[in-house]
Subunit: 405 residues, 2 copies
């Protein structure tokens, strides 16, 4: 395929793609670089349009060399939905939802797992390990099962429950930790060193991001290779926003899109907003966020290893960073379901709350094309919805329907 | 569009499509008929191939007249996966999974809801009501929310929990009943009569099945308009199997597929197997199954109103009906996840158990093309997986990895 090298975005050191590499010697994550001239010659919009509706339709911009190594469950080309009812209510004419709940394992983590595990298989990996806030662990456990790779997962005790079932049924080795993902990360780092396992932690291997970037490729294709004005992304480790930014730059370089990139908005929770604090201070890196906590558990990342890349994507596109309270997030989750029928995860709902805030502030114009990136399905977060339905006995009649509000 | 009439498959009475109709005066469900000559003239495989990857790509074979009435969340064109690892283990060369977990709300019920709610909106419906084993209620609640239709749902107290959250967040009016779906059905029938609501019970309106039939259309397209040999389908109300059978006959009539239809297999649970019992007795209808119960809750239907249509589809295609124990179902769920990374619902897993049984019996040949229809994602059934991971403290080291089996 068309990968040319692994490159450090901090010190520009390069490494061979054919070898297993994790972080640069300077400590930064590595990014996959492609021979984009060759990609331009070998890939066309028409060719892509004729391929199956999954993320492998962009294979020239993906790092797997031999297609026999691809581990796929049909992930990708998730729906892009126009939210007309909600838009009307908010006075917006072009509000969209990219729904990553409609994917194997129910979250966008399937993209990183599909490409990351495929490439790990290609590199001959037998055992990999990772810390997770839940969904990445579930997705990697399932893709590893299909690939025949042993998978070791460490997640916070307070993470949502359903990913535990995914790990268990996939036969992964799962541990809980009485702490945050940062504590899980330290335990994994130590174990990886001792056991010579492949470290699949966020951005500690360069291929997960290549899977996540396909969200950007799909958005471009779904918008007819024209860019929306704003993309809001719930930011924990930030791989998705870095990936989207990378994807759009690659598409620009091969000439498939033109002009200004969309303004990228990093959405965080008021209970864990290191990127927002850094952005407000115009800093290039974030500080560790003490006592992190939010109902949007997936974005409880006190200090992301790729924080400088997230901030670069935000600064470079004239984007911004916004922190949302749990109260506003849960209200937005309700709005999306009751008005648009979309039962999204709290992380995705936070993007709607952020849009309302930025619209009120005048940062978003009511006629701009705005995309909420929902990273997962609400059915993985049943605990965010309260329900106490009345119990009937067989033969009962229904009480009169309460009047509509 | 190309609908011509509603027709009773029992007494052949016909009704106008433009009016709201439920059951035939003879008590049978009604089926939508199309002017298939016009469909043949106006629809082509090439046209379909160029459309978005959702079920509306088959719109000439769907009952919605004005596309403004379509209520969609991008449902359909779910993955068809070849199960090579599992196939090898079972000595089969052509084992496939059609994965209906990758769809809004996480189950195939989204298909019936999308088409049923769209058509209800077109017919001017303001309030609808339905009994459900859970997932249909969740899906219809969400699609109704998007359509602005009031939705009343009655489900068994013992149904899985997550659909309650879907109903609640969609603002549906939800009741539980201390009984089975048959008890819920009686309560809904009474309420519909008293309140003049639209009855959206299984097969009591003719459009849900049109949504479900798109599974058959997609299978045909995904197999390159050649038919597999066997399709196994977990059968409760049976709308899916009736729909697939209807779809394949319509495709045959417009000349898109030729030859023998696949043998359709109705898979049930030993704890609720009225169709299997009827098939073993060569009967045309089933008897009410007393004391029904199984972990595959979605197929706990003691007596389906469309039982004669399910049995017709099975008899006419030289199919069969198989009952699976909960133990075999849960073992199959585990196998699919640990070998193929597919975390399916128990209903879908029962199809794998049935395949093993039919293969052992010689009813399925190891080289036949066999499709397991998985009706929903496993993440909606976390209670079917046991998980008791060890708890670590920050700073702990991981114990040595247990040796692979």
């Amino acid at each position: 395929m068309f990968t040319s090298r692994l490159e450090c975005p901090k010190c520009s050191a390069t490494y061979a793609c054919e070898e297993i590499h994790h972080l640069c010697t300077c400590g930064s994550p590595l990014l996959v670089r492609y021979d984009l001239d060759k990609v331009r010659e070998n890939m066309s919009k028409e060719k892509v349009a004729g391929r199956p509706a999954d993320l492998w339709r962009y294979r020239e911009l993906l790092p797997v060399v031999d297609k026999e190594n691809i581990v796929t469950m049909g992930e990708g080309m998730t729906p892009l939905l126009k939210l007309d009812r909600l838009g009307r209510e908010m006075g917006m004419t072009n509000l969209y939802l990219k729904d990553e709940g409609v994917i194997p394992s129910g979250t966008f983590k399937a993209r990183g797992a599909a490409v990351g595990v495929s490439r790990a298989r290609e590199l001959g990996v037998k055992t990999l390990a990772m810390p997770t806030n839940g969904n990445a662990g579930g997705a990697w456990a399932l893709y590893c099962a299909k690939a025949g790779i042993e998978c070791v997962v460490v997640m916070p005790q307070d993470a949502p429950q359903i990913p535990r079932s995914e790990c268990a049924i996939a036969n992964a080795t799962l541990y809980l930790v009485n702490g945050l993902i940062s504590d899980a990360g330290k335990i994994v780092a130590q174990a990886v060193k001792e056991n010579h396992w492949y470290d699949a932690s966020t951005l500690k291997e360069p291929y997960r991001i290549e899977g996540k970037k396909t969200m950007g490729l799909e958005l471009a294709e779904q918008f007819g290779w024209e860019m929306p004005d704003v993309i809001l992304y719930p930011t924990g480790g930030g791989v998705g926003i870095i990936g989207i930014y990378k994807a759009l730059n690659e598409l620009k370089e091969i000439g498939w899109i033109q002009g200004r990139l969309p303004r990228l908005v990093a959405v965080q929770a008021t209970g864990c907003a290191p990127i927002v604090r850094a952005w407000e201070a115009k800093a290039r890196e974030s500080e560790f966020w003490e006592n992190a906590g939010t109902c949007a558990f997936g974005i409880t990342v006190p200090k992301a290893i790729g924080d400088f890349l997230v901030l670069e994507a935000v600064y470079d596109t004239d984007g911004c960073a916004v922190a949302i309270s749990d109260e506003d997030t849960l209200a937005a989750e309700s709005m999306l379901a009751s008005i648009e029928g979309a039962f999204v995860c709290p992380e995705g709902a936070a993007c709607l709350a952020a849009t309302r805030q930025l619209l009120a502030d005048g940062w978003i114009d009511p006629n701009e094309r705005v995309v909420l990136l929902n990273t997962g399905c609400g059915i993985k977060y049943p605990e965010t919805v309260k329900s106490n339905p009345p119990l009937l006995q067989p033969g009962d009649t229904l009480p009169e329907l309460p009047a509509s509000p």
